[in-house]
């Protein structure tokens, strides 16, 4: 019987699936996931779609913040750039969505790398402030550059189409979002098995040692900003398709804080953690809404305080996780799994 988690080769250490069972379980999960649109009602499917988008965005942020150690408070601004460039390309040039989404990602990646240039000189909290400042500047530009972004009135997004097949319902959007999300997860998972991903981790752990070992810091920091922003831009483009009308208010600074909360609660430097965090933070307001509406009979004022309740619970959760489980839900899940794997001989 198994008495621990031992690896005897590098290949075994790097493997994604630890056992055949894991493969089968993942296959079953995909079957279940892709059958969701056939029996889940529209409103719930909308939430599921938002989870899918949040997964892409959270993985993007985690690549930068969790794996490379560069703190970014500008996530919402990058999402806005992705969303507005996607909308602009779609409405002004009539490009199909399968070109708009990657182009939006590339444009955002370019901006991300631009913001990342100072990261060689400034780091840590200075970088956090610089990205926060970048957020406000992007917000200002989005409001003012009316010919491209539509200003405060917003931008109406063209319905994505393949030939004459319009992706206009939540169910159809579901397939678009989740195909991209799965590709995003697989890419990120494999990224950290390659030289590039390991260079990111080396920069996070000890930048000077990384440089001594031959990692070109500027190149890999910029690459990390680029990849991360590409993810976030794609997530922004999907937000645009889902929301159908986007305005500067779609991407306030609280969105960036929510995303940071996702990766903190899920687990910094963990792909699986980003997924857990994205699910959890997206579901949080919905769970609170259900909770308050069931209590509405006894506390009629509760419904008005939903936004404040969400903020309160979010803040409490972030603090509790940081103090008691700084590695996030992913680490907790891992230790629970290990406990049962070795049961009853675990210590």
């Amino acid at each position: 019987m198994r008495c621990g988690d031992f690896k005897t080769s590098y290949a075994a250490d790097m493997t994604i699936f630890e056992s055949g069972t894991a493969r089968v379980m993942l296959g079953l999960f995909f079957c279940l996931l892709f059958s969701l649109p056939f029996f889940v009602p529209g409103y719930l499917l909308d939430i599921v779609n938002r989870i899918g988008i949040a997964v892409i965005g959270a993985i993007g942020l985690n690549i930068l913040t969790g794996f490379t150690g560069q703190i970014s408070l500008g996530n919402a601004a990058f999402m806005a750039i992705g969303a507005f460039s996607c909308g602009y390309l779609g409405t002004k040039f009539g490009l199909p969505f399968y070109l708009c989404i990657p182009l939006a990602g590339l444009i955002t990646a370019f901006f991300g790398m631009f913001v990342g240039i100072p990261s060689l000189r400034i780091k840590g909290l200075y970088l956090a402030m610089a990205t926060l400042a970048a957020h406000f500047i992007v917000e200002f530009v989005v409001v003012k550059w009316e010919s491209v972004t539509g200003g405060v009135a917003g931008l109406t997004i063209a319905t994505p189409k393949i030939g004459s097949f319009a992706i206009d319902s939540d169910a159809r959007l579901f397939f678009l979002i989740f195909v991209i999300a799965i590709v995003a997860v697989l890419f990120a998972k494999n990224l950290f098995r390659t030289k590039v991903g390991k260079a990111f981790i080396a920069i996070r752990d000890q930048a000077i040692s990384a440089e001594v070992m031959g990692v070109n810091i500027l190149k890999y920091k910029l690459l990390s900003f680029g990849i991360s922003s590409f993810y976030v831009g794609v997530a922004g483009a999907l937000v645009a398709y889902q929301a159908k009308i986007i305005s500067p208010e779609t991407f306030p600074v609280s969105v960036a804080i929510d995303y940071l909360g996702m990766i903190i609660i899920g687990g910094l430097g963990s792909i699986l953690g980003s997924i857990y965090g994205a699910i959890f933070i997206t579901l949080l307001p919905e769970l609170l809404r259900m909770g308050t509406s069931s209590l509405a009979g006894s506390f009629p004022g509760m419904v008005n305080h939903l936004a404040a309740m969400k903020e309160l619970v979010f803040g409490l959760l972030v603090i509790i996780f940081l103090i008691f489980e700084p590695s996030g839900m992913a680490a907790r899940w891992h230790s629970i799994k290990n406990y049962w794997k070795l049961y009853p001989f675990s210590h």
Partner: protein, 297 residues
Amino acid sequence: MDVTFLLQLIINGLVVGSIYALVATGFVIIYKATSALNLAQGEFLMVGAYICLNMLSKYHLPFWQAILITFFFSAILGMLIERLILRPLIGSHLISVIMVTLGLSSILKALIQLAYGTDTIPFPEVFPSAPVQIGPIPVSQGYLYAVGCVTILVVILTAFFKYSKTGVAMRATASSQQVALSMGISVKKMFAISWAIAAIVSSVGGVLLGTIRGGIDMSLSFMGLKVLPVVILGGLDSILGAIVGGIIIGVLENLSGGFIDPLVGGGAKEVAPYIALILILMFKPYGLFGKKKIERV
């Protein structure tokens, strides 16, 4: 160019800037002593303003009693936060400290919203508002009182850090925790006092803003983010820098509000400090008075 208009803008900038300076001082005190970046500074300001409002309009206390009670509660709040939230995180990664203060700001904002709602609540008039003429321009008396309060507070703080035993101990802690410990200074106590002072100083900013604006609402908390350009300009670990930076940013904000806003149709006033922040980080990352840390990667 209209000189009166220019002077008016500069005076407004000085007043707002002196409040920025106050909040930034709180920020710098925490950063210097505990090297934690407090992104909930604006919420301290907001909470202070609401406590004072409550004392003034609900319990009808005279202003000096209300402000003392505000100080008391702010100090307790600061110390509690340090003890319960920041102390367990000592030595953890920077992102944890940043995120924990962001979480804290969510909580404080939510609590205020639950208690008072999102509407603007009128703030009782504390200072006489009749304008006085200074040269050609009328200036509200409230402004003068505000600048006066800030000046007095800065003098008190300077004296505190220079002459009082606690103040010297705090400076010792900021310069080296290990040496401070070996000299018999309780570093934990100094951390708690730093948070208490920061909360008190911010609450004064909140009360002054409340009296100047005549009403307070949730938007006061944005002041905490406005303070970031100030501390970057002045240098993160310099109180003098916070004061000079606050005034410069306040004037800059009002000037760009007066001269650039009409050209672009609004918004420049809000974004100008952040553009300044980026420029300062590029050309002078340690600010005007900050300690240079040479580190090459």
